[in-house]
Symmetry: C2
Subunit: 686 residues, 2 copies
């Protein structure tokens, strides 16, 4: 009944429109296109921006805006990157209809194009923070074009090149860095094996030393030890870093890293190397992931990356780090850059999805609520606002958080290394999940258009899906965050000390008290929001602590207790990460003034309250009463409605140029018009 009221009233309006048609409906005459649906750009429904979009973009990107724009522009002008022209617009994207072999070659072609244009100049030789930030900007921009391109380059520069920088010594730097930068060698990173992914300590590749020739001998002793998922290995890589157990005089010294050539100058496998393809994947087929077997491959002694451990010519193992766990930690260091990068990329993908879906929602109409009214814009439905705007708000929060982490990481203060590990683990997991969720919601919000490759959204889901498990499984990472927090908490309690760092100082004070009078002003106050998130973090930490102690008291080990308390650990990991994100958001907000500050405040409020609203933990453990939660529940759509007029400007502020959004972000009537059909027709015989 109710439904009929909504859709039934359209009959009258349809008649008016069709009457307009009818005037032209004399058989044989042609109709004017203008009498049906006409595309109105989102700008028409949005009014002027209440804030300075370029200032907002500068706040979001944080650095290297010129480099970004230059690189976007470089790609948008090259046929290697442009996939489609509509009117005076170009759209840039790989051709996802190609078989993987061709996609990979195209990725490589693009890499050499970028090299010729000087994009990678001094990437490994200049380790200044400025240069590192510039590199990050380059990865971001390339990742907005195509994940495969950024992954293939990331493997070569960050994993291969970065390992040589951080795990190698002068002899490695001298020999490899320049030719790596010039792509005269193509490096890969052979850590994961068929049998071991997250648990790197368990890898089964074995390396021994032969003093008679001063060579290491790398061996794949069994099928489960084959190197697996090695990006670049299947087709293009010439060299690899191999991670392997190092056996010296019958003693396993643990996982070490070696340089090994895998292909010769003619692209043939080197002696003792066998390579196979990982095959077709759900996404990322522009990267040639491969598998490698080492059949007692001999490499010079100097190829051990010896920053922290070495083997003398006569075969003695020496290391400046006696503790094998610490040594292992050093060898895993190249992965932390990976997590920072993922946090960044995840944010950017969410941006592409949101900019496309929200621009579309500002031009697409469906149904109408009152007689004789035109159909309503999707974004004028409160339900559509609620689907997308909290995700937009969270993406802003992620952006500021990723930017903050990036800077912290690049400072490379040794005392921050644990902080970077913990925060990057939480961000990597939460952001990659958020990105997939956002893209899924954006895809559904665009209907079938969300699945057209030219509109990017559905495709980005497939291309970026890998993020939730590579560089550490998200669930494992979230548990690591909680274990680190619990460890600090144990330590502080047992030593009678205060908690310190990562914003945990709030645990030293009294428990925050929530106002019962949660009016709109209170709900939007960042002090209230922070207190609520601190209350949850503290409560969950106490609950986890109590649960673990209780299990241990029954005679089980700490490991077993932690294994059983996984749910509280996950909840705590999320609570910690969201509290840090809020603090970073507050700092970003402080850099703004006037209406920009106001809009940022709305985004901050929406990101926090919508998160609280959908998370049962607050009610389950009494951090909120049902009445309080209902007030928050009602505030969410109110904030959405206030953000609605700013939506277009907020996605414009992402600074992603038109060629890098989906086609439906622009005039989709034009791009779908017959005049723009290019070779799409088919007249084949059944």
């Amino acid at each position: 009944m109710a439904e009929r009221r909504i859709v039934g009233d359209r009959a009258g309006w349809r008649i008016r429109v069709l009457t307009k048609h009818l005037r032209h409906l004399i058989p044989g005459t042609s109709l004017e296109a203008s009498i049906c649906l006409a595309y109105e750009p989102p700008e028409v429904n949005s009014g002027d921006a209440a804030f300075d979009k370029s200032a907002m973009r500068a706040l979001l990107d944080g650095h290297d805006l010129e480099t970004r724009d230059w690189l976007f522009n470089l790609m948008a002008k090259s046929d290697l990157f442009v996939s489609r022209k509509v009117g005076d617009k170009v759209f840039a994207s790989p051709d996802f209809n190609e078989p993987m072999d061709e996609m990979r070659d195209k990725t490589l072609e693009r890499i050499f194009f970028l090299l010729r244009n000087g994009v990678f100049k001094d990437f490994l030789k200049d380790n200044s923070i400025e240069n590192s930030l510039k590199q990050m900007a380059v990865w971001e921009v390339l990742g907005i074009f195509d994940h495969a391109l950024s992954v293939k380059l990331g493997v070569h520069f960050i994993l291969w090149g970065g390992s040589i920088v951080s795990l190698g010594t002068q002899r490695h730097h001298d020999k490899w860095l320049r030719i790596t930068e010039e792509l005269k060698v193509f490096g890969c990173f052979a850590m994961t094996e068929l049998g071991h992914g997250s648990n790197v300590r368990g890898i089964e590749t074995v390396t021994t030393y032969d003093p008679s020739t001063q060579e290491f001998i790398i061996d794949t002793p069994c099928e489960s030890a084959q190197k697996y998922w090695i990006g670049g290995a299947a087709k293009h890589a010439t060299h690899t870093i191999v991670f392997s157990q190092l056996l010296i005089d019958g003693k396993n010294e643990g996982v070490h890293a070696f340089i090994c050539q895998i292909r010769d100058a003619n692209g043939r496998w080197c002696r003792g190397i066998r390579i196979a393809d990982c095959g077709h994947k759900t996404g990322l087929n522009g990267v040639d992931n491969g598998r490698i077997w080492f059949d007692k491959v001999r490499i010079p002694r100097e190829n051990l990356l010896n920053a922290v451990a070495d083997v003398t010519p006569d075969g003695q193992y020496v290391s400046s780090i006696k503790n094998p766990d610490q040594r292992f930690g050093v060898f895993m260091a190249p992965l932390s850059s990976g997590r920072v990068t993922i946090a960044m990329h995840a944010t950017n993908q969410a941006k592409v999805g949101l900019a496309t879906a929200l621009r579309y929602a500002l031009t697409r109409r469906a149904f109408s609520v009152s007689t004789y009214e035109p159909e309503m814009l999707l974004l004028d439905y409160p339900s559509h606002q609620h689907r997308l705007l909290p995700l937009l708000a969270k993406t802003y929060a992620m952006n500021f958080a990723a930017l903050d982490l990036k800077k912290l990481h690049l400072k490379k203060n040794p005392e921050d290394s644990k902080v970077v590990h913990v925060i990057s683990s939480g961000f990597k997991a939460m952001f990659s999940w958020h990105s997939q969720r956002t893209l899924q919601e954006c895809r559904e919000a665009c209907g079938g258009q969300g699945l057209k490759t030219e509109n990017r959204i559905g495709n980005l889901k497939a291309e970026y899906d890998v993020q939730s498990t590579f560089e550490g499984d998200n669930n494992v990472l979230m548990q690591q965050v909680s274990k680190a927090l619990l460890g600090d908490y144990f330590a502080a309690r047992s030593k009678g000390k205060l908690m310190k760092g990562m914003g945990l100082e709030h645990l030293n004070g009294p428990r925050p008290v929530m106002s019962k009078e949660l009016d709109s002003n209170v709900l939007r106050d960042s002090r209230f929001q922070l207190a609520l998130l601190q209350l949850r973090e503290r409560g969950l930490l106490e609950l986890l602590d109590a649960e673990v102690k209780k299990i241990i008291s029954t005679g089980l080990s700490t490991s077993e207790a932690l294994m059983s308390s996984y749910k509280l650990a996950e909840n705590l990991g999320k609570a910690f990460t969201e509290r840090i994100m809020l603090e970073i958001f507050q700092r970003a907000e402080e850099q703004a003034t006037g209406s920009m500050k106001k809009v940022l405040g709305l985004l901050r409020t929406l990101s926090v309250l919508s998160g609280v609203d959908e998370e049962p933990v607050f009610l389950r453990y009494g951090f909120l009463s049902p009445e309080q939660s209902q007030l928050i529940h009602r505030e969410v759509p109110a904030v959405c409605a206030e953000l609605r007029p700013h939506t277009l400007h907020l996605v414009d502020s992402f600074g992603i140029p038109q060629p890098f959004l989906g086609l439906i972000a622009y005039d989709w009537v034009e791009s779908n018009a017959w005049d723009n059909v290019s070779g799409g027709s088919s007249q084949s015989i059944v």
Copy 2:
């Protein structure tokens, strides 16, 4: 600290394993593969089934087991379907590395293979329930192999053929059904347009009548009226059903359906027809979705599907249904089969994902908790159980629900048509969301392997993603469910009558009272579970009713009130659907005895409690107290642990033969071994 305890203790065990290696590590000698990881089939870790698996399978499939097995077997024996051989096993799948044009041709080849093997015999001529159920079984099995195959056939048989059956009359049946069954014509279904999807009433294609030639003239008056997403149109279809506004004497009689040829016997477009490709999609590239423009295309008067409305030779419009809304409803009827089919397919895809991921979790090990212990099986981690087993339980619930709906739908009792509409809307939305969520969780639970196309999971996500928006956007459908419920509720209240049908009778009695003592026995009692879900449904209906009335009292329309109350409407749609699912589950359970009944009880409990546990609505509106919710929260992992020993047998009971699961469901060390590398290696030059 805590983390180190878990992973650090492995060092000792690794040393033992590596010592074993070492015995063989005399340079130049070869190692035995057996000393590393060996694959143990899931059966090794699972023990005997506590229930009769064939009885469970019969309960799940419900009908046509022999037809299913025959068809699975037919495909597994044909090279058209088999993609890979490993040892004595074959695996069946399309080649997703092919460009879309080749994938589409392959889909067509498979269709003709099935035709030659008599699969479609009497599909349209025999409308008995038995034959219809058999057809459903065929769609299910084909859908387990490939969504594109089932969609392309579904468009031809269910949408094209089904429309002729239900919207046409004898003259259409005589002319079209036999040749449709024999695939001498290939039909498509042109409803959606570029400008109008969910809102079919708004389509802009216009048909007029020319009495001088007794022809209809179909016209696409503007670009937004081009037919869009038409499966089969881009390449193979010869005919289509066109949905169009019918203008007679200047009056719009609303949306009607016509038969129109689009390609001639040589595959050339017919006069006035223009066709373009929809292009590459995130998934389902085996279906040739196309766009059609009609340039004043003339068709015989007899091509109007005239079961409920006709135009006389001299141009008078006549209809047995005066109410345009009711007439519109009749023309939309072919879509309801679609929703039933989606509910079925969504269940099956979740099964493929779960069977693959759970078998893998019973063979894959990672980390260990105690010194000198081997690594633990993934499924022995409580966290891994919690990730997958609630999804398994919900998939069982979906299975029984989809089976029930299928039978209700096929009975075609006119008095059930509203019930089928409401329930199929709820199931279609909830099941397609559940399926995507399940596949995503399964994909992540398999790590990178979840993204290899040969393992199916990640790929199924892309292939089935369309389900959440086609045949009705999920959010719109959920709102329709609630509007129907609210309409009934309004009507019953205003007439002082009782609620009746769809299990709503519980609203006539007193509100259920929850026991405060929620011990395990109570929590697992289906009476408690039903009462809790009824309490939520009733509470949300009352809240929605009150909110809508309150908004109307401020002067807004019912439509506007409903638009603002979307969140309660969504919650209510979910509450209604889950309550119906529980009732159906209870009835399925009653068909079992002994240990099978017991296991089904565990699944029912897990499906309900895990749903309650993650849904904040219960706490927000006080249907549960925090203490009660904590008890439920603790019960979920306990039930997971009890289900763990049954896991393998529960996925075996799905009856999906080995060739149709992902490769990692079986010996993944063997399938990845060098001996099974086929042409995967590459030695190209950089």
